[in-house]
Symmetry: C2
Subunit: 591 residues, 2 copies
Amino acid sequence: MPSYTAPTKDMQFILHDVLKVSDAPTPGYADLDRDFTAAILEEAGKIASEVLAPLNPVGDTEGCRLENGVVYTPTGFKAAFAQMQAGGWPGIDMPEDFGGQGMPYVLGTAVGEFFSAANQAFTMYQGLTHGAASTILAHGTEEQKATYLHKMVACDWTGTMNLTEPHCGTDLGLMRTKAEPQADGSYKVTGQKIFISAGEHDLAENIIHLVLAKIPGGPEGIKGVSLFIVPKFLVNEDGSLGPRNGVSCGKIEEKMGIHGNATCVMNYDGATGYLLGEEHKGMRAMFTMMNEARIGVGMQGVAQAEIAFQNALAYSRDRLQGRDITGPKNPDGPADPLIVHPDIRRNLMEQKSFVEAARAFLLWGSTLIDAAHRDGDRDADGLISLMTPVIKGFLTDKGFDMTVQAQQVYGGHGYIEEWGMSQYTRDARIAMIYEGANGVQALDLVGRKLALDGGKHVLAFFDMVKGFCKTAGETEEMGEFVEPLKRASKDLQTAGMYFMQEGMKDPNAALSGSYDFMHLFGHVCLGLMWARMAEASLAALAAGTKDPEFHQTKLATARFYMARQLPMTATHLARIQSGAEPVMALDAANF
Amino acid sequence: MPSYTAPTKDMQFILHDVLKVSDAPTPGYADLDRDFTAAILEEAGKIASEVLAPLNPVGDTEGCRLENGVVYTPTGFKAAFAQMQAGGWPGIDMPEDFGGQGMPYVLGTAVGEFFSAANQAFTMYQGLTHGAASTILAHGTEEQKATYLHKMVACDWTGTMNLTEPHCGTDLGLMRTKAEPQADGSYKVTGQKIFISAGEHDLAENIIHLVLAKIPGGPEGIKGVSLFIVPKFLVNEDGSLGPRNGVSCGKIEEKMGIHGNATCVMNYDGATGYLLGEEHKGMRAMFTMMNEARIGVGMQGVAQAEIAFQNALAYSRDRLQGRDITGPKNPDGPADPLIVHPDIRRNLMEQKSFVEAARAFLLWGSTLIDAAHRDGDRDADGLISLMTPVIKGFLTDKGFDMTVQAQQVYGGHGYIEEWGMSQYTRDARIAMIYEGANGVQALDLVGRKLALDGGKHVLAFFDMVKGFCKTAGETEEMGEFVEPLKRASKDLQTAGMYFMQEGMKDPNAALSGSYDFMHLFGHVCLGLMWARMAEASLAALAAGTKDPEFHQTKLATARFYMARQLPMTATHLARIQSGAEPVMALDAANF
């Protein structure tokens, strides 16, 4: 049976040795001292290991069940959901005014990784609620906030986001769902939405759907889309539940993974909805939810890679097969453990060096979100806006790859369902698709984010890397980490320059390289994280840390990333520089 | 619903324009003229599309069922199996003496790709039988051949291979299954084997298990392993079926994919077995089966990539979403088809450029097998022996990646089971594992095959590439294909040289780079195939072909591979040259 242990030590290292969160000027960060975060992480890790992880295979095997319009979640989900609510976990980083714990987003990300790793399908119920609540918080009227937020922060009511329709996913301008204004200021919402995660279930007494729809007579296409709150049960003035609204679940999908989360076809049949934000400005409001969701999805990629790695590592130590080519390591046993073999180590090191840097990248990104939201830091806001597609696209692609590699360590045992490794791969696969398929992330990065505010944010990123390399590179022992980072960063700048020059002449020259650029950017970010972690570990060693092995391991893992992963930037650059021609040459008919 | 059309035109191009099979001196090849192979391919393509492909989702959804020791295959499998038998397909390349069609292996590979693409789980029943029959053909006594081969060639009886036990997979020296000699010259086989594909089912009247076991008192470890024929029903002297033997299926596995094929736990309880080949030389005999199986598994990787690509391509032409950034391509419709978008094209071109070159690589490899087996060509035998791990490891890794990319074209529709794309990914995943996990293929390549016969075969490969580049490179128009191939081949030689120099000092220096070397080798092989296909297409164009678009498309796809895929060799080389240190630095305890 697979198991999960929350990587609290690694999380503490990143928060305190690398990011030094309690020294940061961001409001609320002063409280994040080592003991405080240790206590939170330990509690969260415990519930993840003991409550959520055991339900992960249950959710996969049982799946959800739709009967007469009611969706039943897998055995044990209800009790675990209640336990999460009782612990206040869903509202950890929501405002105290609405019953949340008021902690920074970075802490929400840290515990969120634990929960997602232990049980992605389960954690989505509260994750989507968080996103919907954030959107109401950002765009709702005072009355709307008062009506919904307390309940949603507590997860007594959960939330959803309704974008996709059968004929439109990425291109939401094609949307057909209608919202007709009523005399009382409400709307009647009619249409069908698909792929609605947590659209219907038995975990909460009400479900607050956020639904994109068009008000008749409005602008054509995406400019005529508005956002509506459509509760499953209408809410009376006193906050109690009123009659059932005209929304129902028509079907739940059979899918490759995340079986424990109900993916619903939702039918809106003159359902009562309330405008959220301004008329025809629905996409802007929805993006509040989507940007947060994209960071959360990037986190899922890392989380699945982490639990897959943990189990692959344990298996590689237990399973005896073959002998170390340089001489037996377990001479009294019938064979040596798998971990003695170089290619198994290569595989494990790829996983380890990805997961640890990806975690640092996520937490660093989360500090930018806190700086933007809590401190109004517009540079941080611009930078995280630039990073969001990289976090979502690169971390989920690589996270999935790592679950595949972890599976491989098990040989045939990785393919049968009994050992649980197949589930990580099947669950991780969705993260590359939802909240904007990764190709769309690449398009967002190259087509929109690079040029945002006159290219200010990407230049700020390069300056930051340059500044780090200069300062850190002053010490001789940092040279081995800083030099590869410099080379990789130069590849990224060259690629960016290529887009600027060629993209002006032919936008396809830039867009043909967008996917490679997203990965190139991701590698530079993880290289930066490894260099920063190396710096922190060297400092800890110099200060006479009591745990030198931990820090020596960080340095060795950083070296692996620099030697074995960062060279990918050259290949990405070569592909980018080959331009549009190889990609665009064929007529569609000739493929 | 997914569909499948056999790529007969592409197959014909490779067989006749590139490999020029009917001009080859290999016995039997003179018969392979265009019309003859066209007729065979067309028939095979028809049964693949019309009979096997519709059963593919059925097999996935229903799976196999074990009841009271009997395994029931999915609805429709029995009738389809009978249809395959009636057409003589299972024995297409088996000797006429035993009821086969006597055609070359290359033709078996060609039609095998169609069948595997249309229904991998189904085709495994006959594929394993083919491997078992080949082993009996190579190592059996005349009596054994007479007893089993006619029935197996016809698939009236199917075959299996039994290697793995619960505690040993790759390291078969740990095997516990025993074969005790009996007075009549037979053996009593006792033990448990796992992961036995097609171990029990209802498609054939008898199942001939080939079982590895140890004769008590024999040498320790792998040197004491022998191979046995253990029929499900004993065979009477007149060839009729006798009593049930002491072998039974204890369980069938739940697994990620290939649900239509029963993966069995087989219990041998004093079952009567007959020695196949020599005592204690079981591995040598089993390798006849495994080498063939490895080529067959490489083919499965290509086959799943092909069907996934076909469906992704069709979807990208049908699905309207967004507008071409350079202006509408479908101005009268609500949006343009997906295929206008550069990143969708990048994705599709990666698939197309892989599948077509991989197919050529497989067919070329198959001509080497024919040359070795039909003509006793020892150089061809050495070369295919070197290539086998590359074909198995590289083509299944990439084949799987391509199914993942194909799924991505569908967005959310790729994740739900309804569209069939998830099945290709789940089915393709096994090919990276069985018949020797891909890490073991890399070890076989670097640890054994490179140095085989004093390194003769790898040098022959380099000479062949060099010779091709020299001859083909004489024409100016081939320069754009030959130059990148030369660079990639140089990277491969540099890597090989690195292993020779560093591997002498430290074997881990070579083995740490084995996986990258396997991929580097694979890229050079596909680069070579693209250069050869480009040469053939240029010749066809120069000769005034009636189908210039087909050949122009080949050239464009070759250019894509050279520009976008072949640069990977530099990254693989950089990783290899970083040596053992980054991979081996950590103590097992510190991961």
